[in-house]
Amino acid sequence: MGAFTYHKPATVGEAADLAAELHGARFVAGGTDVVVLLKQRKIDPANLISLRNVAELTYIDSADGLSLGSGVTHTRIANHDYIRARYSALADGARVVGSKQIRNVATLGGNICNAAPSADTACPLLALDAAVRILGREGEREVPIDDFFLGPNKVALADGELVLGIKLPATSEKSGSAYIKHSRRQAMELPMVGVAAWVSVSIGGSEERCRGALECEHTPDVIQLLQNEEVVLEDVRIAMGVVAPRPIRAREAEAKLKGQVVSGALFESMGDVAVSECQARDSFRCDAGYRLEMVRVLTKRAILKAIDRIMRPGREADIDLLW
């Protein structure tokens, strides 16, 4: 590591002042990305501004929707009962990042600012329609998360700007979400593909029979039985990771689903559309063709998992269930 001065502001105001004063300074929160980059000499800043001691950035507020400070750790998100129940996709993403040691210090703000195409909280935040609170020289501004990610490790932050936190809209009883990380190992791994879905539904038939449907072993049976109960996808948001230079919304696939009764044919055609929205490429983790095949499977599963969470809310702990 090159020599740097390490600053430890205690408040957001002090952090912002330091950033304005020290041109080219780098913020560091949990350090699990930044310290690695320093060690690998991929960055060489003269000044590091630590956000670890800024208590103002560690809030979790569920009074109106959900507001999270950028300094909230993945461990806190993964263990937070309300987030697991109402913003399940985000808890799903937070609990599969790195290892326990990493999650204990790595922050939500760090994960989105590092902006890896594979970031596990990125797809959940896209599907949950997050807004990013940013503090700049002219004061605070809010940016939709979809406008925040620009490319690999590139975000819409000017020099000296700081992410204060994220805001998620309120959710209704009849909405649910899920994130599925598709990887070869269960820890210390980046996804080959990641898919998050948020849905809100209306049910023409019986909710009880929908719950029964979800007990079925074979996915086509589940879908057929949900179709029989006229489960309508009133609103849908889908996000996909590692299929483009940045995590993306599958907006055309969403449009295909919106207002429709779930059915095998609907999922089939939705899968084609989702694939057409990807710009997947080969990497050492897997081929582009495999990624696209998995997009087909995982978009469907993420939606079913989100529906499952609406129908059987007490089972949110059962996150490893196939869909």
């Binding site: 590591m1 740097f4 350090g31 290892s99 326990k100 269960q186 210390m188």
Partner: protein
């Protein structure tokens, strides 16, 4: 330029003059001579450097040394009782062949201790999740998981 920090190391208040570029791991090994925590990968992938900071298992190789100020750090050297009686987790690792070459052991035990301190009665899955960031290339993990289960059972008594 060196800066002085003050923190609690294995229950004892200590001071050190540190370079901002150091990590907690460097401080432990090169200043305090506590070589239980190992440098494996140096980038937070292997867990051999795991120590407990303020109750949480942490990769000391990624922990900026100036952040140690005012915190409580526990290393493998502080796990046994002052009279040398091994901690139940250490004892269980020995009895259950949870140790082979030993390189991962200090980190593995610190991850296990952080888990059992917070959750005295973990499921097997919770144990596996807690040590998923600690790589062992010898044991195949089964004896390690069994060692932690044995320790949990004894600690409850």
């Amino acid at each position: 330029m060196k800066q002085e920090i003050q923190f609690v190391l294995n229950g004892e208040q200590v001071f050190a003059d540190v370079d901002p570029q150091w990590t907690l791991l460097y401080l432990l090994r090169n200043v305090f001579g506590y070589t239980g925590a190992k440098k494996g990968c140096g980038v937070g992938e292997c867990g051999a450097c795991t120590v407990i900071v303020d109750g949480e298992a942490t990769n000391s190789c990624l922990y900026p040394v100036l952040e140690v100020e005012g915190r409580h750090v526990t290393t493998i050297e502080g796990v046994a009782a002052p009279d040398g009686t091994l901690h139940p987790i250490q004892q269980a690792f020995i009895e259950n062949n949870g140790v082979q070459c030993g390189y991962c052991t200090a980190g593995m035990i610190m991850s296990a201790k952080a888990l059992l301190d917070q959750k005295p009665d973990p499921t097997e899955e919770e144990i596996r999740t807690a040590i998923a960031g600690n790589i062992c290339r010898c044991t195949g993990y089964v004896q390690i998981v069994e060692s932690i289960q044995m320790a949990a059972a004894r600690m409850k008594q």
